[in-house]
Symmetry: C2
Subunit: 425 residues, 2 copies
């Protein structure tokens, strides 16, 4: 039976906490490992490794196995005792909230996916925070039920959603998914799930996922631009996620590209999103598709029809995508002017439409940057679906768990090696 | 006679170099100090302090004095030997290049200003890099001559200028002061002056000056926006100057605020500068001032006339400043969206015109940020003149000197405590 964090002995602080954490990470990364190897890779004394791993075994976080390889090879002497993370020590959920669905992954403590579930909303809508929390709970419960598990067995939950999220306080200042503004969503979810909840802007989770598992592996500085229903950004600076000076910066979709411009979902005018997001394209589609949008198909169907019309040469439809591309190029150029990146990763499911990353858009981006003669940043396209977003969320939750276990604070999870790189599967 | 860096014994690397540097900084900051106090504040062993300070004295960088206070107070035993920086060990120049003048400060090695000189250009113009270098040389020579000094006595030169500057390579990709693009200006200046030259974007030097001497003292994260002939930005992140991921980022004046908008000096369209800089205002002034601008007064006179007309209630003149203010608010809001700063400092001589920081502009900036309900960043106005810019340049030069002395590299000067806080005078 999984152990809940509250059952873990009182928090161990300071040096021992850091050592404990380093040892736990080593065991996780090395999969099956001997104490002597843990001491080697962590630089922690053998005596301390022995003492701390004894605690971890006693607490049920780590288990001992015999070195099967040595037995099979007929090695003499006692078989070595190896350590590994106990997969069933904790059950972790990662979730991504969108306006039209909630996607959930469940992983074990070793980082292996146990279940994956998508809970659609029949009618996409902006709901109250309580309704979203209920929907999220339903999605996670459904994922759990498929494996004969219940909410009470969850040790940690990580959630990503679009909008202006303060990861440190867990507040949602604004999200396209919520009717209200300024919601203490983490508190709401913590009371719903009864376990630690980590919350972050969804694009930040993609940036973390790119850093941990994807195209940002081994790259210290890069920008991730996510294109889904909206436009998001995550910035990695010096190997760490940069959330802005006060915690909710690196906003891209709601930077202004036109004074007094098109109305955005956020209520302001001239936001980049109001020109390039799917809803922005579809609201102009009536003119191109020549039909009454008061009797709409779904947003997706409208967008697909508009895209097909443009590809078939419809000039009006073309002009909609063309303007979106030019606005996007202008927004990207401003990012390049400010951050001077070497690498920009475009990530998200909307990447199936090429209007935002056509060669023409990238050429225009270069023309609008301040040093057009210099090497432009490399732009890479990553057509990851929801799976990687929710795995980013699960990794965030696992790190928060490790952090709260080791030091009682979940603030610095972005500074860490991911708890489990095997989340990539 | 000043010692040139080439006379300093071969470069001392590694730990000893770091210790040497820490000791030099301590002596400078503590003004007159005993070896025992240096050991205390640096945490370096007394033996190492004794050894390294002996080197510094032998090299003429530091000199011994007796503790006059102890003598006067009739203290018993031997008077303590104190150490201080030898002011005449090095002579340092800091300069700011603008299109209409070059401003120079000379400081001694203790950071005290020795001379200050402004060399105007009779006819403001865009010149070749060689002409600008000659003008700079003339300005510095004039400052030196006033003190009976010559170029040969300069140990280090720091230069700030507007534009797209790579501080690490010393290249000027574009500057409003140069006719050409992509100039290795540092190499040109190094051959002109025969001593190390540091080059940086002028707004970066203001950010460093604010961090070292000004409103950014003790603040780890802030943004400086400079408003002069153009619009510049310097960003301090985690106590360090952030120059972008590849070294020439944090560009603000040439981010685009209008697709296919007004033509900018840089050759592109829609740059913020093309709406808010003095030249942008003046080129619209004909309509308001009702006179033929083909026979112009100076830019400054035109701007003053336009400003006076607006203040006197001329609607056309008002509308010019009003639009500039709205564009500036939009640009600022985008900075807030990206960096989420707690503090923005407006700095520069153009601050005498209030159109860019009127309450209306700041209210509009807040309205355009993504979380209008949250505490907006504090905006502080700093009407520093050229003096602080060139002192920032001199401090940069002094740090480069200390760095080249200690490790042979001038790359990391922004990470350091300023070589001399007394540059503020």
């Amino acid at each position: 039976m999984p152990i809940r964090p509250s059952q873990v002995p009182s928090q161990v602080r300071g040096l021992r906490a850091r050592n404990r954490r380093a040892i736990m990470t080593a065991i996780r990364n090395l999969k099956h490992t001997a104490r002597v190897d843990i001491a080697r890779v962590t630089g922690i004394s053998a005596a301390t490794v022995t003492s701390i791993t004894a605690d971890l075994v006693a607490e049920g976080l780590v288990e001992e196995t015999l070195d099967g390889a040595q037995e099979r090879s007929g090695g003499r002497g006692r078989p070595r005792v190896l350590l590994r993370v106990r997969p069933d020590a904790f059950l972790i959920a990662g979730a991504k909230i969108s306006t039209d669905r909630i996607t959930v992954t469940l992983t074990d403590y070793a980082g292996e996916e146990v279940a994956y579930h998508v809970e659609p909303q029949p009618v996409p809508q902006v709901a109250t925070a309580v309704e979203v929390a209920r929907h999220l709970c339903l999605a996670i419960e459904t994922a759990l039920a498929g494996k004969g598990k219940s909410l009470a067995e969850l040790a940690s939950v990580g959630v990503g959603l679009p909008g202006f999220i303060d990861a440190s306080s867990g507040r949602v200042y604004w999200s396209a998914c919520f009717k209200e503004r300024d919601v203490d969503f983490r508190a709401l979810l913590t009371s719903t799930f009864g376990c630690p909840v980590s919350l972050d802007n969804d694009a930040n989770l993609v940036a973390l996922a790119e850093k941990w598992f994807g195209l940002g592996r081994g790259v210290d500085n890069f920008i991730v631009v996510t294109i889904e229903h909206g436009v998001g950004m995550g910035v990695v600076l010096g190997g760490k996620l940069f959330r802005g000076m006060r915690g909710i910066g690196t906003e891209f979709g709601h930077t202004k590209v036109q004074m007094d411009g098109a109305l955005c979902r956020c209520g302001q005018r001239g936001c980049l999103e109001a020109y390039v997001a799917d809803y922005a394209l579809v609201r102009e589609a009536g003119a191109a598709l020549g039909r009454d949008l008061s009797c709409p198909m779904t947003l997706q169907e409208d967008l697909d029809a508009l895209f097909a019309a443009a590809k078939a040469g419809d000039r009006v439809a073309e002009s909609i995508f063309e303007r979106a591309g030019r606005m996007f190029a202008m927004g990207l150029a401003n990012l390049v002017n400010v951050f001077d990146p070497n690498l920009i990763i475009f990530s998200g499911e909307q990447m199936r439409y090429d209007y935002l990353y056509s060669p023409r858009v990238l050429v225009r981006m270069r023309q609008l940057t301040v040093v057009p003669g210099r090497n432009p940043p490399e732009v890479r396209i990553h057509k990851w679906g929801d799976r990687i977003w929710v795995r980013g969320a699960a990794a965030l939750a696992m790190d928060a768990l490790a952090e709260s276990d080791a030091s009682g604070s979940a603030r610095d999870h972005e500074h860490l090696t991911p708890a489990s790189e095997s989340l990539l599967a």
